[in-house]
C-alpha cells in the first residue's frame, strides 16, 4: 500500500481522520475543558492553579458530583413535598416568597 493511496483514502473519508496536527488541537481543547471542569468540582486543587488531575479522575469526580447534586435536588423535593402536603403554605404565601427572593 503506497503512501499516496493512504492519503487519498483520508481525503475521501467524509469525517475527519485525525492527522497529527488536528489531533493535537482537539487534545488541547479537551485538556483545557477538563481543567475548567475540574475547577468546578468541590475540593478541587485546580482552583489553586495546581496541575490538573488525570482525565479519568476528573471524569469520575464530575460524575460523582452530578450524582450528589441530583440527590440534593431529590432531598429538597421531598422536603418541599412534605411542606406542601401539610397545607402550611398557601398560594398567597408562595407569592410573598417569590417577591422576597427575587
Amino acid at each position: 500500500m503506497s503512501s499516496s493511496s493512504r492519503r487519498s483514502r483520508s481525503r475521501r473519508a467524509g469525517t475527519s481522520v485525525s492527522s497529527s496536527s488536528s489531533r493535537s488541537i482537539s487534545e488541547d481543547q479537551i485538556s483545557d475543558l477538563l481543567s475548567k471542569l475540574e475547577a468546578l468540582l468541590p475540593d478541587s486543587q485546580a482552583r489553586n492553579g495546581a496541575h490538573r488531575g488525570p482525565a479519568s479522575r476528573v471524569l469520575q469526580e464530575t460524575c460523582s458530583y452530578i450524582r450528589s447534586l441530583h440527590r440534593e435536588v431529590d432531598d429538597l423535593s421531598e422536603t418541599l413535598a412534605a411542606l406542601l402536603a401539610s397545607d402550611a403554605v398557601t398560594a398567597e404565601q408562595a407569592a410573598v416568597i417569590r417577591s422576597l427572593l427575587m
Partner: protein, 185 residues
C-alpha cells in the same frame, strides 16, 4: 456563571418553579408522588430558565414529557459522535506507523472511555454528543444544577419559616433546631 447571568437564571427558575408548584398542592397525592411532581417541576423550570444555549435543557424537557426522545428530534451536532482522544491510524492493520503504546496508556484510555460513557448517562442528552461537546455540556449542566439546588434550598427555608407560624413543626432532614428560633436563615 457570571453575576447577572446567574441572577436572571435563578429568577426565571424561581418564577417557573413556583407557578408549577401550584399543581403539586393536590391533596390526593402520596408523599412520593408529590415529591416526584416537585422534582419534575424543578427540572422543567431549570430547563426552561436555561433556554437555548445548551443541549441538556431540550433533553431534560423531552424526558419529563412521557414520550422518550429519539435522535431525530435533535439537530445533528456532528456527522459522527467521536470518542474522546481518538487517535486511530489508518494503516493499523499493517502496524507500520502506529507508535508502540504502553499498557498503562491503554488502561488509561480504557478508563477514560468508560467514565466518559458514564458521564454521558448523567448529562441529559449526553448520548448524542461528542467528547468535546460533552465536556462543555457537563460544565454548563453542573453550574445550573448548583443554582437549582441553591434556589430550592432558599424556597424550602422560606416555606419552612412560614410553616412554623401556622402549622406543626416539620422535621427537616438533618435539622434539629427549634422552628421558633427566629435566628434561622
Amino acid at each position: 456563571m457570571r453575576g447577572p447571568t446567574a441572577k436572571s437564571f435563578k429568577q426565571g427558575f424561581l418564577r417557573s418553579f413556583l407557578v408549577s408548584l401550584k399543581s403539586c398542592r393536590n391533596g390526593d397525592m402520596s408523599l412520593q408522588e408529590r415529591k416526584r411532581a416537585v422534582r419534575s417541576s424543578a427540572d422543567a423550570a431549570m430547563a426552561t430558565a436555561r433556554g437555548g444555549g445548551a443541549m441538556w435543557p431540550q433533553a431534560l424537557l423531552a424526558s419529563s414529557s412521557s414520550s422518550p426522545p429519539t435522535s431525530s428530534s435533535w439537530p445533528r451536532l456532528l456527522p459522527t459522535a467521536a470518542k474522546v482522544k481518538t487517535t486511530r491510524c489508518k494503516s493499523t492493520a499493517r502496524r507500520c506507523c502506529r507508535p508502540k503504546r504502553s499498557s498503562s496508556e491503554m488502561i488509561a484510555r480504557r478508563l477514560v472511555r468508560k467514565r466518559t460513557k458514564i458521564l454521558r448517562g448523567m448529562v441529559p442528552g449526553g448520548e448524542l454528543l461528542d467528547g468535546v461537546s460533552l465536556l462543555r455540556e457537563a460544565m454548563d449542566y453542573v453550574v445550573h444544577l448548583r443554582a437549582q439546588v441553591a434556589v430550592l434550598r432558599r424556597v424550602s427555608n422560606a416555606m419552612h419559616h412560614m410553616a412554623g407560624a401556622v402549622a406543626p413543626r416539620v422535621q427537616l432532614k438533618g435539622e434539629t433546631a427549634q422552628l421558633s428560633d427566629g435566628n434561622q436563615g
